[in-house]
Amino acid sequence: MSKYTEDELAKDLEVQEYKYGFTTDIESDQAPIGLNEDIIRFISAKKEEPKWLLDIRLEAFEVWKGMVEPEWAHVQYTKPDFQAIRYYSAPKQSKKFESWDDVDEEMKITMKKLGISLEEQKRLTGTNVAVDFVMDSVSVGTSFKAKLKELGIIFCSFSEAVQDHPELVREHMGTVVPTKDNFYAALNSAVFTDGSFCYIPKGVRCPMELSTYFRINEGGTGQFERTLVIADKGSYVSYLEGCTAPQRDENQLHAAVVELIAKDDAEIKYSTVQNWYPGDKNGVGGIFNFVTKRGICGTNAKISWTQVETGSAVTWKYPSCILKGDNSIGEFFSVAVTNNFQQADTGTKMIHLGKNTKSTIISKGISAGKSHNSYRGLVQIHKNATNSRNFSQCDSLLMTDECGAHTYPYIECKNSSSKIEHEATTSKIGEDQIFYCLQRGISEEKAIGLIVNGYCKEVLNQLPMEFAVEAQKLLSISLEGSVG
């Protein structure tokens, strides 16, 4: 019988290289390696920042020095040497880009490889996506700025926002994720270099998807971006971030902070398709992704996190919602895929403070190879959160006998009128299901794609249409030939 053997599988996986593994040869403007107060002053000066921001950085650095790296997550890795990282690396530019046409040729090629070239932008005009592109530490261009400006929407790099809208940044930055929040948030607050900033004025419904593309390029650099999204009263925005990094042997650190602020009656939909380099099949290299993402809801506001995570060697990430206002809603939809030696510890926190607040958690973990995939979630209902409700569903799918799926749900409830539901399942991908597909003439590869996408359907349905298709492909690619 000409059966697809495990050896062939292994061979296929070996040759299946990370699609986005390339480096761009652009001269860059760098800080010396290492971390101290001077480096922070250097970054701040490079960015021509106001004093209040430098003060925030220095204070964060002081706090960080007194903190220890968290160890409670179900991941094992060699801790980064924070003195061996370069904290600032900007592609050398002669001037600021006024339009995409001014962008450096090399960088244009990079963007083309990532599928967000100028041509792509033009094509995307129809589907309404504005893109901000962060390469290493600096944001290099934001499209559709003029069109958004007409509506009073601000969508720009974080550095530009600091220059052009300091009052908005100063008022909101750190209000959701305080400097002292955790080890990596403190580090980020001290050394963050760039990121995206978005402000939607009162009552405005943003007519297009806003999108940021992150890419780590320079070897030995860390990427510490800072994203701040503010949806003023009664406004709506849908925001998407995508991530890639080149293939490197050493582990690279990515420690971002994302803060979302949905004021009364506002809604923010934040979607992530994360495809950082996961390391090779032996677990060498890959990105350490230690990210703090959190949003706060005013009265009747809604924040919805959707994430499809297939990359990174180690992921440590809990997009959360603080449901402060009455009747506010928090949602978390997640697909996390781990293969080979990847490790993910991801989940969410839903903090119910207001009355009649509602949260929904749908988490789908898929483990393949020798990977470990953990869901960690906290549902916390405070004593004034009367009639609040939570529904959680955590499903784990195992593809091999050597991988692991772990679930750590925490529930704290201090209000007797609240209702909390938690459902969890763990299953192994069914040989019966695959055989059934094969018997209908469907190849094993397509069968796995079908089954896994079916399994994740509830989450994929939450993504904007054009990204859902991308995410589906990504899932199939990440798991190709991984049944054992």
Binding site: M1, S2, K3, Y4, G430, D432, Q433, F435, Y436, C437, L438, Q439, R440, G441, I442, S443, E444, K446, L450, I451, N453, G454, Y455, C456, K457, E458
Partner: protein, 250 residues
């Protein structure tokens, strides 16, 4: 169509098929009956290409090709269809998407263009009517939340959509009430042509009242021990299998 010669197969150390031979020609319907554990479902699984079984001897010729050399999916693409005794559920995957993927994979194998959405939907409407399957079921996830009867009807619906050369119905009648049995049997009869063939595996004669076989075989202890016309099924129904065992013992 298919010619099985002296087939031996085992699962683990246990030999299940012990020299089974059977030939089915185009246009024919064959029924395979036999007591529990005789190897009926094993035969279906081996022909379809399930890897749990090891074929230790024998040959299977399927339309001039060595069936045992083909992968599971290629057997299906060459026109072999198995209606499962226990169809699996595939949550989140619509029946329609599933079938369209299957049809297009088979078409690609035959170097044909993918089916157009319009033609496909017309086909779905036509074929689902054949087994009186609610068209809503066609949009639901594969077998998820289907009743036992709906699952079996869905198998025959898929068979109608894929138009196989050789269909093997593995105890398709089990768990069906009289009405569902009639519907499923009608579907199978309507799909019958002089170009295709069907092997019906069953415990009970009642299915054979609706799907009238050209030949009835008794499978016992890994071999076909008796072959006759449709009247053999009636005799088995009346006397059970013991007389065959007794005959063999002599």
């Amino acid at each position: 169509m298919i010619k099985i010669n002296d087939l031996h197969a085992k699962i683990g150390e246990k030999e299940i098929l012990k020299g089974l031979s059977l030939e089915v020609k185009a246009g024919e319907i064959h029924a395979i009956m036999g007591p529990n554990g005789a190897g009926k479902s094993t035969l279906a699984s081996i022909l379809a290409g399930r890897e749990d079984y090891e074929v230790t001897a024998g040959q299977v010729d399927f339309q001039g090709e060595d069936l045992l050399e083909l992968s599971t999916e290629d057997r299906a693409r060459e026109g072999l269809f198995l209606a499962f005794q226990y169809p699996v559920e595939i949550p989140g995957v619509s029946n329609i998407n599933f079938l369209r993927t299957a049809i297009n994979e088979i078409r690609e194998y035959n170097k044909e263009e993918p089916v157009s959405a319009k033609d496909f939907m017309a086909m779905v409407r036509e074929k689902s009517a054949l087994v009186e399957l609610d068209s809503k079921l066609a949009s639901r996830s594969v077998n998820e939340g289907f009743s036992g009867g709906e699952k079996k009807r869905n198998e025959i619906f898929q068979m109608a959509m894929l138009a196989p050369k050789l269909a093997i119905l593995d105890e398709t009648d089990s768990g069906l009430d009289i009405d569902a049995l009639r519907i499923v049997a009608n579907g199978v009869n309507k799909l019958r042509t002089s170009e295709n063939a069907t092997i019906v595996i069953t415990h009970y004669q009642r299915l054979l009242d609706h799907i009238v076989p050209d030949f009835v075989h008794v499978l016992y202890d890994g071999k076909i021990v008796k072959t006759g016309g449709k009247e053999l099924a009636l005799e088995l129904e009346e006397k059970g299998y013991d007389w065959i065992k007794a005959e063999l013992a002599n």
